[in-house]
Symmetry: C2
DNA sequence: GTAAAGTAGTTTATAAAATAAACCAAAATT
DNA sequence: AATTTTGGTTTATTTTATAAACTACTTTAC
């Protein structure tokens, strides 16, 4: 009847992050923060979760003298997102 | 960019309940429990929340000697569901 | 007829999640 | 050189979801 919804993706902020990364392939912390309109703390926590699940890769470097956190979606992440969307349809199909 | 997702609907069980009620117009507790594969406790709590939000109407009566809890979606509930689905699309659009 | 099991739930407790607040180090600004 | 800003992280608090325990019957089996 209803398919399971991956709890890691069934979260407004994490879903927004994944949605962005899916179309952009790569984005930095500040960009994600702006686009998702989230607080830095919340974003930091959610990026960690997605990273630990292997849905995204997080790289820390420097842009000039400032820290730069760059995120990329992984294959696993893309698959998970697609599965999530597919499952969602069992709930919202007309 | 991303639309807000009504937190009341952004929950697997509550979304499933609403999805069922949208197509059935009326359903009793046991039916919902089976179809959503939820525990009675969880279902009871989530029905209360939907009811308090005015998204569903809950009526308690008796079927013979046994209690019967019947749920119906309200206009407000239908609207909220439609809005939720619409908002969702900002996240999952290809 | 009464003990045990089942039905239809509710209430309370616990675990997990989301969010907010506080904090930190370095850089840029005044 | 003191203050503010940038780019975050860590910790604390609040909110949710879920599970466990309980209630009030009813039905079935002895």
């Amino acid at each position: 009847m209803f398919k399971e919804l991956d709890p890691l993706l069934h979260s407004q902020l994490r879903l927004a992050i994944m949605s962005l990364l899916l179309s952009l392939d790569s984005a930095d912390f500040t960009f994600l923060k702006e686009k998702t309109d989230s607080t830095a703390g919340n974003l930091s926590v959610q990026l960690d979760k997605l990273s630990e699940a292997g849905y995204i890769n997080v790289e820390k470097s420097f842009k000039g003298k400032k820290p730069l956190t760059t995120c990329k979606i992984t294959k696993k992440g893309i698959k998970a997102f697609e599965d999530y969307v597919h499952s969602l349809k069992s709930y919202i199909k007309p």
